[in-house]
């Protein structure tokens, strides 16, 4: 019982912190010297300690260092910036040219990557279960997209709104990988973090082990140490839990799968139509911090109309169990 209380505590704390949220995120950068379309990256190293931001190791325009984590972070943030600029004419995280700061070598054997509200932070992994987190472009893009979501929608990081926050990061992480690899929807693997795991980790399908699968949530890994990928693909399997901020990385499987189905239904390059629908939904003033799956689905269908893919998006949501008279 005591452990359950410990586990649920963070969820309640996040819920309590909501009233202060808006004030913080509306404080945008007042001025930028950069022209639109010009990125400004700075990579720091934490030198395996946990102090942020660390020491600068590569600034914009500097040549490659030859150190994989540094150069992957630099290139990955660049690819993500270029995607948002080329496809959506979005100028960085805040659409006002916010500098992109990334810190690598955070902690010792630190097996994680996160967005701290100002920068992307990457650990080296433990070398047993996890490789370094900069190794996967979609993971870098996922973290940067958390900044975009925080700037645009402030989706509360708990329960269904938190799962939508996570899903949006997976969606744009996958799109940026596909855009970089020039892959159409039916050519992509739809895996998130497919090379983050070492080769010791067992997959739950015929595809390589990954952190998540948008094509087949629940099959990304099935391993004696990690356990089985808990993601549902349908509302019938929705998991009510206090763990993981109310299942933000678990139930994100449902909107992730809806996006995958819509992309396959529409065909072609996923970033051209359905990606644009999801991006417009993220900018939609009707998307509120406490939005749940049902409302998010309705907004994507509404935004799909202008791209003439309404039926495909509606059908995708129906396939994951989200329907209503409004849909």
């Amino acid at each position: 019982m005591a452990l359950q209380a410990l586990g649920s505590d963070m969820t309640f704390r996040n819920l309590r912190s909501v009233p202060n949220f808006h004030v913080e995120v509306i404080r945008k950068r007042p001025f930028s010297f950069m022209s639109a379309g010009e990125k400004q990256r700075t990579i720091f190293t934490a030198n395996n300690e946990q102090a942020l931001p660390g020491v600068v190791v590569r600034a914009e325009g500097n040549p490659a260092t030859g150190e994989p984590a540094v150069d992957e972070a630099y290139d990955g943030l660049g690819a993500t910036y270029d995607f948002f600029w080329s496809v959506f004419k979005r100028n960085s995280i805040d659409d006002e040219g916010m500098p992109l700061n990334g810190t690598v070598h955070f902690g010792t054997n630190y097996s994680n990557a996160f967005w701290d509200g100002q920068r992307m932070v990457f650990g080296d992994g433990d070398g047993e279960i996890f490789n370094r987190f900069t190794i996967a472009l979609d993971v870098i893009a996922h973290e940067l997209t958390h900044g975009v979501t925080e700037d645009e929608a402030q989706l509360i990081y708990s329960g269904q709104s938190g799962a939508l926050n996570e899903s949006i990061s997976d969606v744009f992480g996958a799109l940026i990988k596909q855009y970089t690899l020039k892959q159409a929807a039916d050519q992509a693997d739809w895996l998130i973090g497919s090379n983050i795991f070492t080769d010791k980790i067992k997959s739950g399908s015929e595809q390589p082990a990954a952190i998540r699968s948008m094509k087949a949530p629940g099959t990304a890994y099935d391993d004696p140490v990690l356990g089985k990928d808990p993601q549902p693909a349908h509302m019938d399997a929705y998991i009510d839990t206090f763990e993981d901020n109310g299942g933000v990385h678990i139930n994100s499987g449902i909107p992730n799968h809806a996006f995958y189905l819509a992309a396959i239904n529409i065909g072609g390059n996923a970033w051209e139509k359905v990606g644009r629908v999801w991006y417009q939904t993220l900018l939609d003033p009707a998307l509120k911090p406490n939005t749940k799956f049902q409302r998010f689905a309705e907004l994507t269908i509404e935004n799909a109309k202008r791209f003439e893919v309404e039926a495909a998006v509606r059908d995708a949501w129906k396939q994951v169990g989200i329907t209503s008279p409004a849909l």
């Binding site: 586990g7 963070m10 701290d116 509200g117 356990g227 763990e243 990385h249």
Partner: protein, 106 residues
């Protein structure tokens, strides 16, 4: 003295890595029990606030809860990776190592 450690959060949810760890100083080898008690003392554990200051920004951060029960008193501390208390991070490193040993059945 009983110490409970519960890690949470991060880039993904991995059922096998999120199991809580319980250590009892009475059943640990004496040098190790002493080491753990010293780390708790260095952190001034019972004087720390239960909750770190709230931060509504960020995503995928790891959070940790450490609870200590000793001589009739109990105290728990919740914090995240962005907390700057080095003594707490030393505790997390030690407890993570014990958790890993526990997973490996050592």
């Amino acid at each position: 003295m009983k110490v409970t450690f519960k890690p949470e959060g991060g880039f993904g949810f991995f059922p096998g890595l999120n199991k809580p760890l319980e250590l009892n100083c009475e059943t640990l080898p004496e040098p190790e029990a002493h080491h753990l008690q010293e780390m708790l003392k260095d952190a001034c554990f019972f004087d720390l606030p239960s909750q770190a200051p709230e931060n509504s920004r960020g995503a995928d951060l790891k959070h940790y809860t450490i609870q200590v029960e000793d001589k009739g008193q109990a105290h728990s501390v919740a914090f995240s990776d962005t907390d700057t208390n080095a003594a707490l991070h030393n505790l997390v490193s030690y407890l993570s190592k014990k958790q890993k040993e526990s997973r490996a059945g050592l």
